[in-house]
C-alpha cells in the first residue's frame, strides 16, 4: 500500500478558507454534541411519558405505549430520518410541507427529533421495566397514604425506578451520541460528515477518521464518567447498588 501519512494535515488550512482541517472537525464535534444533547432530552421526556403509560393498569394507556414503542423501535433509524426529512413534507398539505422544507437548519432539527424519538422508545421500555421491578407494595403504600397516582409516580416510583435503570440509560445515552452520525444522510455535517469532507478534500482518509474516532471516544468517556458520578451521588445507602 502506498499511503502517505501526514499527521500535520490537521494544521493545514482547509479549502473553505476558514481555519484549518482541525477547525472543521471541531465544528463537526460541536454539532454532534448539540444534536446528541437535544436528542437525549427528547428521548428522556418522551421515554418517560411512554414508559409511565406502559406501566399503568389502564388498557388504553398500555396500548398507546405499546403502539408508540413498536413504531419507533421496529424501523431502522435511517428509514425514520428519511421519513421525517423527505416523506413527511410531501404528505402534509402543501403550505405546511413548504414551511417544513424551508425551516432553517432543517437537517439539525430533523436529526435531533428523529434520533430523539427513536431513542425514546428504548428509554420507555427500560423505564417500564424499572417500574415493574419495584415491589407492588410500594405503589400500594403510596396510594394508601392518600397520594394520587401522579404523586405516587412523581415522589415514589420514578425516583426509585430511574436509579435502578441508570446503568442501562448510560448505554442509551452513548447510543444516542453515536446514532447522530446517521444524520449525515440527510445532510447534517456533524463529526462524521466533517471527517468525510476532510477525506475528500485532502485524501488523508486515515488521519481524518482516526481523529473522528478519538473525538467520539472522548465524548463518550466524558459521558460514562459523568453518569458514573451521577450513579454514585444518587445511590441509596444500603439499597441495591448503594453501599
Amino acid at each position: 500500500m502506498n499511503y502517505n501519512w501526514n499527521w500535520h494535515i490537521f494544521f493545514e488550512p482547509n479549502p473553505t478558507g476558514a481555519g484549518t482541517y482541525l477547525d472543521m472537525l471541531v465544528a463537526g464535534l460541536l454539532l454532534t454534541i448539540k444534536t446528541a444533547l437535544l436528542a437525549w432530552v427528547i428521548a428522556l421526556i418522551f421515554g418517560t411519558i411512554i414508559g409511565i403509560l406502559r406501566s399503568l393498569p389502564s388498557r388504553t394507556a398500555s396500548w398507546i405505549g405499546f403502539g408508540y414503542v413498536e413504531f419507533f423501535r421496529n424501523m431502522p433509524l435511517l428509514v425514520q430520518l428519511f421519513l421525517w426529512f423527505f416523506v413527511l413534507p410531501e404528505l402534509l398539505p402543501r403550505g405546511a410541507g413548504l414551511w417544513l422544507k424551508q425551516i432553517p437548519n432543517a437537517p439539525f432539527w430533523t436529526a435531533a427529533i428523529g434520533v430523539g424519538l427513536f431513542m425514546s422508545a428504548r428509554v420507555a421500555v427500560q423505564l417500564a421495566a424499572g417500574i415493574a421491578s419495584l415491589p407492588r407494595g410500594q405503589k400500594n403504600a403510596a396510594t394508601a397514604l392518600g397520594l394520587t397516582t401522579a404523586q405516587g409516580y412523581r415522589y415514589v416510583l420514578l425516583p426509585i425506578a430511574f436509579r435502578i435503570i441508570l446503568p442501562p440509560l448510560t448505554s442509551e445515552f452513548l447510543n444516542t451520541i453515536k446514532n447522530t452520525s446517521v444524520a449525515i444522510t440527510i445532510g447534517l455535517i456533524e463529526l462524521t460528515g466533517q471527517a468525510r469532507a476532510m477525506q475528500e478534500f485532502s485524501f488523508q482518509v486515515f488521519e481524518a477518521f482516526t481523529a473522528a474516532t478519538v473525538m467520539y471516544l472522548a465524548i463518550n468517556i466524558v459521558v460514562v464518567t459523568g453518569m458514573r458520578f451521577l450513579e454514585r451521588s444518587l445511590a441509596i445507602p444500603g439499597y441495591i447498588t448503594g453501599k
Binding site: 396510594t143 394508601a144 397514604l145 392518600g146 397520594l147 394520587t148 426509585i160 439499597y239
Partner: protein, 243 residues
C-alpha cells in the same frame, strides 16, 4: 366506623376470593382478622381503603361509601392508616422524609409542621436517633415501627394492619406489637390481620376467622378463644396454639 356488608370479590371470571363478607368495626374497637393463607383476609382489609376493588356489596368508612365512583379516594385513604407486611418504606427517602412526604403533599402541611409531627412520632416509637438514616439501614422491626409512625403522622381515624409482623424475626416481633398494644390502649380503631394470637387475646375486642373467602366466625375475643363455634376455627386454633 367501618361497615362491610355483603362484599363479593372475584379474580377473573371464576375465582371468588371473598364470599358475602359482612362485619363491622366500631369506633375505638380492635378487631383481629385471622385464618389460613389464602383465606382472603389480606384482600378484605385492602378492600376497606379501596386498594383492591370488589364487584359486589358495599363498604362504608366513617359514613363514606368506599365503592362509590364519586368518592374522592385519595382523600379518604389519607384518613386511614395502613401498615404492610413488608413495611414498604420509600427506600430513597430518609426516615424523617418518609414521615413527611404525605403530610406535605396530601394534607398540605408546611414542612416545619410536618417535621415537628414526624419527630414527635419517631420519639414515640423510639427511633429519634435514626431520623436521618435510610430505611435499608434499619432492622426490620425498626422499619415497621417507622411505617406505623408514618401512618400515624396522617392523624388517621382508623388503622389497618396487614400481617405487620409476618416478615419479622421473632425477636423483632415484640417491639412492633408493643407499639400496636399502646395504640390499642389509646383507643385507636384498629383492624388487624395477624397470626399473633397473644396480641389478639391481649387487646382485641373481637376476632374474625376467615376461611376460603368467607367469614366463618365473628365473635367476641373470649368466645372465640374459649369456645369457637365452627369446627374449622377449632382446628385452626388447635394448630396454631399447640406449640
Amino acid at each position: 366506623m367501618i361497615e362491610i356488608s355483603h362484599v363479593n370479590k372475584w379474580y377473573g371470571p371464576s375465582f371468588q376470593v371473598l364470599k358475602d363478607c359482612t362485619t363491622s368495626v366500631a369506633k375505638g374497637e380492635v378487631v383481629v382478622v385471622c385464618g389460613p393463607s389464602g383465606s382472603g383476609k389480606s384482600t378484605l382489609i385492602k378492600c376497606v381503603n379501596a386498594l383492591e376493588p370488589f364487584q359486589e356489596g358495599q363498604i362504608i368508612l366513617d359514613g363514606i361509601k368506599v365503592n362509590d365512583p364519586k368518592t374522592d379516594l385519595p382523600k379518604l385513604r389519607a384518613r386511614v392508616g395502613m401498615v404492610f407486611q413488608h413495611f414498604e418504606l420509600f427506600p430513597h427517602l430518609r426516615i424523617i422524609e418518609n414521615l413527611c412526604l404525605a403530610q406535605e403533599k396530601v394534607l398540605g402541611r408546611s414542612h416545619d409542621e410536618a417535621m415537628a409531627k414526624g419527630q414527635k412520632l419517631l420519639e414515640r416509637v423510639g427511633l429519634t436517633v435514626h431520623a436521618n438514616k435510610y430505611p435499608a439501614e434499619l432492622s426490620g422491626g425498626q422499619q415497621q415501627r417507622v411505617a406505623i409512625a408514618r401512618a400515624l403522622a396522617m392523624d388517621p381515624i382508623a388503622m389497618l394492619f396487614d400481617e405487620p409482623t409476618s416478615a419479622l424475626d421473632p425477636e423483632m416481633i415484640s417491639e412492633v406489637l408493643d407499639v400496636m398494644v399502646d395504640l390499642a390502649h389509646e383507643g385507636m380503631t384498629m383492624m388487624v390481620v395477624t397470626h399473633e394470637m397473644g396480641f389478639a387475646s391481649k387487646v382485641a375486642h373481637r376476632v374474625i376467622f376467615m376461611d376460603k373467602g368467607e367469614i366463618v366466625e365473628d365473635a367476641l375475643k373470649t368466645d372465640f378463644f374459649g369456645s369457637p363455634r365452627s369446627e374449622r376455627a377449632q382446628k385452626f386454633l388447635s394448630k396454631i396454639l399447640s406449640h
